[in-house]
Structure formats: structure tokens, C-alpha cells
């Protein structure tokens, strides 16, 4: 059985997101969908999931042409969609979210609260037996990884024949990733096909039976994953767009001489995190890694915002300071690029230009008066620097693809930036970013370090950290463990360190 999308066109004002795409998905396979940021992956799966209607083209399930009028309609026809942005109802509990739209009832529309909890627990246990989640907690208070799990369990609760996962692992740490991989593999034998959108090519290659490559809204190829190498996939994604694959990041060990100490902290206690000593020097790239809840993200954030700060001593650029806060740290030359860009960094309704100008608006102003001309020039420069794919600086952020949003989220710190930052803190800098852009971002980070900026990268992508960091600090249950130096870098070493294995 298949779902066939034929001759799909999706036209947005100024952008053709899909251009006569033909592809079919089997209910007995994992089907990988890859492509650069903005290639049209999310658009394609949104059409498949019923939440968007194509400008033209047809959809046929098991050979019967059909219309997927809404997400609910698609769901009724056996297609469930776990979207890239995440879609849970805050305020409702995890259990209530799992069974939203399919509550057990006592009759007369009355909800059977007890049965609801029981069924939610059963579902969770059936699909994620290793995961323990407090199903009574308000879902918005759960960690990101748990929220993703809840979303997937929700998608799997009914008579589903095709499950769409749009970058499900972009924000997941290693252990949850593996859990998810196991589930994805187990689905086709149980009669559920999977469409997997991801920028992790190795993941896609390992999991998928067939892989479809999109480029600039066009269908490039669909072929069995056993028949291609990762390198070939990269070629398919980038080729003909005139882009050549960048060589895997060589960060040239020791090429950068680490300078004087930029920030030094001691006896820090923020929220549930304790760090006895941490120091970073100019030109150094320090990676922070850890399992969910280990505190590496919270620690990175607190260095800039002071959020949750309880006690500790801080010396920045030789001067002691009481407690960091965003404004004073920015004034001292610190940049902070947070994770969850739509929540923490961007304004969806604003144009690319306005978002870019948010940190240093003076760069687009003449004697304090904003000039649209100047702003546009500066914005174009920043867009060129990061190769942002948008039809103009005036395109609204919410209409950009995920990866391009991320580029703007980083780019806004470089728009009109000072000579150089003393310290830049990145959290998940390449969340949802395609492989080409990922390398570009890594190159930028390395260039900034080479110019003498101290850089902290907190990431759940271990390969990323291994590629660019000079030193990695693993976090274990709210504590910073012994740092690993480049010589000790290896995935297994990282995983052991994150698990608290003292070596």
C-alpha cells in the first residue's frame, strides 16, 4: 500500500516551495526525506499530513485519489504528523495531550478521567517502555525530549499507517535519539510506514529503506538507501545549485593561540547546577555536553542571563562582577545565541531585516533615526554572510524554513556587530540546520575564535562538538565533570563521560 503525491506544486507569494514533485511513500518502509534548508521538506510533509493544501497536484492513497482537507482528515485516513515546531496544548497534562481528540468517555460526552490516565500510561509503555514521564504534569513543564516523546505517542495512538516525523531528533540528546531510532525501525514490521525528515544524514541512511532528495522545491531522486553513500547524498542535495560540498571541518589544532582569560567563575550555584571552577580564554572554543537535565544548557544560559543564579564569584575580563544579566553582559561584549529560536530569539511576524537589526539597531540608523535604506544594506550583508535563503530582506521570519531561521538567529548578532565579541555563547547552534549550512556555521564559529573571541558551544550534537571544540566539559547531574582535551575526543568517550563514568 502506498500514498502517492503526484505533480505537487506549492506556490507562496514570492516563493515556489514545491515544483511539480512526484513521490510515493510505502506503508512498509522508513522513507527518508532530505534536502537543504528551504528545499521544501516541511512543506511536502505538511501537504501529506493534511495541514496544508497544495496549489496543484493530486494525492492518492492505495491508488484512490483523495483530498486531505485538514490534519484531522489525514489522521482519519491513517496519516499522523509530528510537526517540526512541536504542537502540544500547554496547560493540559501530558496524559490529556496524549489522548487529545480521542478521550475515553463514560457516555454523554463525559470524560473518563481514570481510563484516560490508564490508557495514556499504557500507550507510553507500549511505544517507549524505557521512558518514565510524569503524565500528570502540565505538558509545558516537561523537558523538550519528553515533550517530543509525548507528541510521538500521541501520533501513534490510533490506527495509523503512516507516521510523519519532521526533524524529530533535532533537539534530542543522544540517549533519547537511540530510543527513537529503535521505535522508528520497529514500525514498518507493525504495518506503519514512516516518513523521516532529518538533517542527520547518517541517521537517515541507517534508518531508511528508501531516501528522497529534494532540492529547491524539486524532486531530485528517490532511491534505496543501501545503494547510496552519504557523500553521494550530499552531492544530490547540493549539486547543480552550484554549491560544492565543503571539506569536513579541519579546525587545525593549536593553530589558534589561546589568549588571556575572558571569563572565570568559581563556586557557581545556578538553579540545580553547581560548577566549582570554569574558565575560558580568548580564541578558545569550549564545548558543553550532557544528557537531558544535566544542566549544561542551563549553565550556558546563566553565564549570560544570570537566570537562577544563587551564589558564586565571577570575573569577566579581569573585573569581578556580582551576577550576570543580559544587558550588562551584552555591554561587556558577550553574545548569546539561544536554542528554541522561535521562542527565544526571533519575532515571527517581523521581517528578516527587522530581526537582524534587533541586537544592534544603531547600525541601521543615522543620528539616531532609523533609515530603511541603511538597514536593508546591513541586512543584505548579514544575509549574504550566512547565505540566508529568503526572497528579500522583507520576507517574514515565520515564512522561512527552519534552518534559515537559525541562520538569522545567529546573524542578528553579527549585524552591525562591534569589532569582535569577547565571548559568544551558542546553545544548539545548528538545530535543524542542513549539512552544508552546518559546516558554514562551524566555519563562522571557528573564524570568530581565530579572531580572538572566546566561544562556548553547548550542544546535544556530539559530532559537532567533536568537530569544532578545543576542549569539552561534560555535565553530569548538574555538575561539571573533568574536561576532555582534543586528544581524548571520541564519541564513546563523550557518552561515557556524560553517563558519569570517571576515567
Amino acid at each position: 500500500m502506498t500514498v502517492r503525491l503526484a505533480d505537487i506544486v506549492m506556490q507562496y507569494p514570492g516563493t515556489r516551495a514545491l515544483d511539480h514533485v512526484d513521490v510515493d511513500f510505502l506503508f512498509s518502509e522508513v522513507h527518508g526525506l532530505i534536502g537543504e534548508n528551504g528545499a521544501g521538506k516541511t512543506t511536502l510533509v505538511s501537504i501529506l499530513g493534511g495541514s496544508k493544501q497544495p496549489t496543484s497536484g493530486t494525492i492518492a492513497i492505495a491508488g484512490v485519489e483523495t483530498v486531505l482537507a485538514s490534519a484531522g482528515d489525514a489522521l482519519a485516513k491513517g496519516i499522523a504528523h509530528v510537526s517540526q515546531e512541536g504542537s502540544l496544548v500547554p496547560g493540559l497534562s501530558a496524559a490529556q495531550n496524549v489522548l487529545l481528540g480521542d478521550e475515553p468517555r463514560l457516555g454523554l460526552g463525559i470524560i473518563d478521567t481514570r481510563a484516560l490516565k490508564r490508557r495514556a500510561a499504557e500507550l507510553l509503555d507500549r511505544w517507549f517502555p524505557q521512558v518514565a514521564i510524569d503524565l500528570d504534569a502540565a505538558v509545558d513543564t516537561l523537558p523538550m525530549a519528553d515533550q517530543k516523546v509525548i507528541e510521538i505517542v500521541r501520533a501513534l495512538r490510533g490506527e495509523i499507517r503512516l507516521l510523519i516525523l519532521d526533524e524529530p531528533t533535532a533537539t534530542l540528546p543522544a540517549r533519547e535519539k537511540e530510543n527513537l531510532w529503535r521505535i522508528i525501525r520497529s514500525l514498518p514490521p507493525r504495518g506503519v510506514g514512516v516518513v523521516l525528515v532529518s538533517h542527520f544524514l547518517s541517521e537517515v541512511k541507517a534508518l531508511s529503506d528508501r531516501i528522497t532528495v529534494l532540492r529547491d522545491g524539486r524532486h531530485v531522486t528517490t532511491l534505496p538507501s543501501a545503494e547510496v553513500s552519504e557523500a553521494q547524498l550530499v552531492d544530490f542535495m547540493l549539486q547543480r545549485a552550484g554549491k560544492t560540498a565543503v571539506a569536513i571541518g579541519e579546525n587545525g589544532d593549536g593553530a589558534r593561540a589561546a589568549g588571556e582569560t575572558v571569563m572565570e567563575i568559581a563556586d557557581w550555584h545556578v538553579g540545580g547546577v553547581r560548577v566549582d571552577r570554569f574558565a575560558i580564554r580568548a580564541g578558545e572554543i569550549v564545548g558543553l555536553i550532557g544528557l537531558t537535565g544535566a544542566g549544561h544548557f542551563g549553565f550556558a544560559r546563566s553565564l549570560y542571563t544570570g537566570e537562577g543564579f544563587l551564589s558564586g564569584s565571577t570575573v569577566f575580563a579581569g573585573q569581578p562582577l556580582a551576577r550576570p544579566d543580559a544587558r550588562s553582559m551584552k555591554a561587556r561584549g558577550v553574545a548569546f545565541i539561544p536554542d528554541h529560536r522561535m521562542e527565544n530569539s526571533l519575532i515571527g511576524e517581523w521581517s528578516v531585516r527587522e530581526n537582524l537589526a534587533m541586537v544592534h539597531p544603531h547600525a541601521g540608523a543615522h543620528a539616531g533615526v532609523l533609515s530603511m535604506g541603511l538597514e536593508e544594506k546591513a541586512a543584505r550583508a548579514a544575509m549574504a554572510l550566512f547565505n540566508v535563503k529568503a526572497h528579500s530582506p522583507e520576507q517574514r521570519i515565520q515564512d522561512l524554513s527552519g534552518g534559515n531561521k537559525q541562520k538569522v538567529s545567529i546573524g542578528k548578532w553579527l549585524y552591525g556587530a562591534p569589532e569582535r565579541y569577547r565571548l559568544m555563547i551558542f546553545v544548539e547552534p545548528t538545530e535543524g540546520v542542513d549539512i552544508g549550512a552546518k559546516r558554514e556555521i562551524h566555519r563562522h564559529i571557528q573564524r570568530l575564535a581565530a579572531e580572538g573571541t572566546a566561544i562556548i558551544v553547548a550542544s546535544s550534537d556530539l559530532m559537532e562538538v567533536a568537530d569544532i571544540a578545543d576542549r569539552v566539559v561534560p555535565f553530569v547531574q548538574g555538575q561539571a565533570a573533568r574536561a576532555l582535551s582534543r586528544a581524548e575526543f571520541s564519541e564513546s568517550r563523550f557518552i561515557a563521560a556524560m553517563a558519569g563514568d570517571p576515567q
Binding site: G72, S87, G91, G101, I111, G272
Partner: protein, 330 residues
């Protein structure tokens, strides 16, 4: 390692402290209400008499019903600015029908129909045409205002109202005002719908995250519409009761119900599940306002000073929750 143990212990202590704080926070507005009530009971002579307490209940009953309706709107994240005029509409429609000889039950059905019609129009404008509810209901409010005043020539309607109707607004059963029963009935129905049925769950869901609800197969359009219809229906019922209480149809009698109804819901949103509109919260919100009004009246405080004191009491009551929780109202 000891270093490992420490944070865990702390976490436990912190969490028991947290949960007490949490509790205080959830109920701080209720606590303020309780203190206020006790204060009046101790210092004001006839405050704590059965007849006065029944007065309070009677005085807040229509407001509570309107507020309960608005709660559905807020839960679905739709605002109905036309409720005041819907109260007015049925408040003149029912007397007009009764005077022209329509039997009471049918006149009350007329109010239901009017409420339903207004709600249906509002929700069509909002969910089919896509006009934001704030604008749509502002406009339908203006239209209803015109209709109310035009159909009465701006005059109040008096006389010729059957006793059965007046009994609804002024009578007592077993020493308790009929209005009190009506209020309890509406509050219970609203509470049950919101907290125990799929209908209510989906109304909260479309308000919490419309896209997520729709992805789960919830018919967003239907539940947003339903919330707006309930708003209007409850307002229409309150209007009929108001006319019975006043023994007359007054075209402008409903106007205060918009701002007061909102205040009720807002105050309610500071308790139970802070940031969320709940029927229980709204009920206590109305009680809060009713107790302030009545208590200050009994003290014999000048109306203008009352208005000032009322504002201050609300601020103090809400401030406690607000110090610690982020309330998002819309």
C-alpha cells in the same frame, strides 16, 4: 559522593517549600476574599445576616452567569465584547414578548433563541470569515446597541409582566431567592461542561494551542464557535433574569456587564489554575466583587470612595499571585 548528595537534599526541602508556596499562590486571591469577608463580618454590623448574604447572592447572580459564559470564550481564547448588549437584547425581548401575550416558557425560549442567534452570528464572523473576535464582537455590539434602543425607542418597558416572570427575579423558594437557584444551576452546568466533558476539554484545547488541537483531529472551528455561542447564550439568560429582577426591560441595563464580567473572569484567572479561565475561578471572582460592593455599601462608604477602595482591593488581591506567577490573560 557527598557533593552529589547535597543538591538532592536541598531539592527536596526546596520542593516542599515550593509546594506550600504553590498552594499559597493558587489560593491567594481566595484567601484575600476570605479575609475580606471575615473583615466585613467582624466589623460591619448587619453584614453576616442571612438576609444580607442572600442579598449578595442575588446581586451577583446575573454577573456570575455572564461571567461563566465569558469563561468559555476566554478558555477558547475568544473575547466577546458584545455580551453587555446581548444581556440588553434579551432583557427587552422577553418583556416585549410577554407584554404582547406570549406565554412565559415561549418567551424564555425566545431569549434562548436570541442568544443563540447572536452567538451564531459572532462565531460565523470569527470562524468562517476570520474576523478576530475582538473586532467582530465590538461591531456586533454596536449593532445590538442600535437594535435594542431602536426597538424600544430608548424607553424602558414597564407593566403587564406576568407574576410568574417577576417571581423568577424577585421571588423566593424556601426562603432563598430564585435567582440564587438559577445562578447555582448555571454555574454547575458550566463547571460540569468545562471540567468533565469532552466539549469543555476541546474548548480549552483550541484555546491552548489551536494548531495542536486541530492536528489531533479536534474541529477547531466548531469549538471556537461553540465557546462564542455559550457566551451569548449565558448572556441572554442573564438578560432575561435581569428583566425579571428589575420588573422591566431597560435597553441600557446590560452595559455594565461587559467590564464587570471581564473583571470577574480576570480575578478568577488568578486562582485555581493561575492564568487559565475556570468556572470556579469566575464564580469566586464574582463573589469577590459582590462582597466588596455590598460590604462597602453597608459600611456606608461614599460611592466614589468605594470605587477607589474596590480598585485597591483588587490590586492587592491580584498582586500576591502576580509577584510569583506569570499570568497571561489573552
Amino acid at each position: 559522593m557527598t557533593a552529589q548528595a547535597r543538591p538532592l537534599v536541598e531539592a527536596k526541602e526546596a520542593s516542599s517549600r515550593k509546594s506550600r508556596d504553590q498552594w499559597l499562590l493558587k489560593y491567594s486571591t481566595l484567601l484575600a476574599l476570605f479575609l475580606l469577608f471575615s473583615g466585613f463580618a467582624l466589623t460591619v454590623d448587619r453584614f453576616l445576616t442571612a438576609s444580607n448574604l442572600l442579598n449578595i447572592v442575588q446581586q451577583i447572580s446575573m454577573l456570575t452567569i455572564v461571567g461563566a459564559g465569558l469563561t468559555f470564550g476566554f478558555a477558547a481564547r475568544e473575547m466577546d465584547l458584545s455580551v453587555g448588549y446581548t444581556v440588553g437584547l434579551s432583557g427587552i425581548l422577553v418583556p416585549l414578548m410577554l407584554i404582547s401575550g406570549v406565554p412565559l416558557p415561549i418567551a424564555l425560549l425566545g431569549a434562548v433563541a436570541a442568544g443563540f442567534a447572536v452567538g451564531a452570528i459572532n462565531s460565523m464572523l470569527v470562524t468562517l470569515i476570520g474576523i478576530p473576535s475582538l473586532i467582530a464582537t465590538l461591531a456586533t455590539g454596536s449593532i445590538l446597541y442600535g437594535i435594542n434602543f431602536m426597538s424600544t425607542g430608548g424607553r424602558a418597558i414597564y407593566g403587564g409582566l406576568p407574576d410568574g416572570f417577576l417571581f423568577l427575579g424577585q421571588g423566593q423558594i424556601l426562603g432563598i431567592p430564585v435567582l440564587a437557584y438559577a445562578m447555582v444551576l448555571f454555574v454547575l452546568v458550566a463547571w460540569f461542561l468545562m471540567e468533565r466533558t469532552i466539549f469543555g476539554r476541546y474548548i480549552y484545547a483550541v484555546g491552548g494551542n489551536l494548531k495542536a488541537a486541530e492536528l489531533s483531529g479536534v474541529n477547531g472551528r466548531f469549538y471556537r464557535s461553540a465557546a462564542l455561542v455559550v457566551c451569548s447564550l449565558f448572556a441572554a439568560m442573564a438578560g432575561a433574569l435581569l428583566a425579571a429582577r428589575l420588573g422591566s426591560g431597560q435597553p441600557n441595563a446590560g452595559e455594565r456587564y461587559l467590564l464587570d464580567g471581564l473583571a470577574t473572569v480576570f480575578i478568577g484567572m488568578t486562582m485555581i489554575r493561575p492564568g487559565t479561565a475556570t468556572v470556579t475561578g469566575t464564580f469566586f471572582g464574582a463573589l469577590f466583587i459582590g462582597v466588596i460592593n455590598n460590604g462597602l455599601n453597608l459600611v456606608g462608604m461614599d460611592t466614589y470612595v468605594q470605587s477607589i477602595v474596590k480598585g485597591l482591593i483588587i490590586l492587592v488581591a491580584v498582586a500576591i499571585v502576580s509577584r510569583t506567577t506569570k499570568l497571561k490573560l489573552l
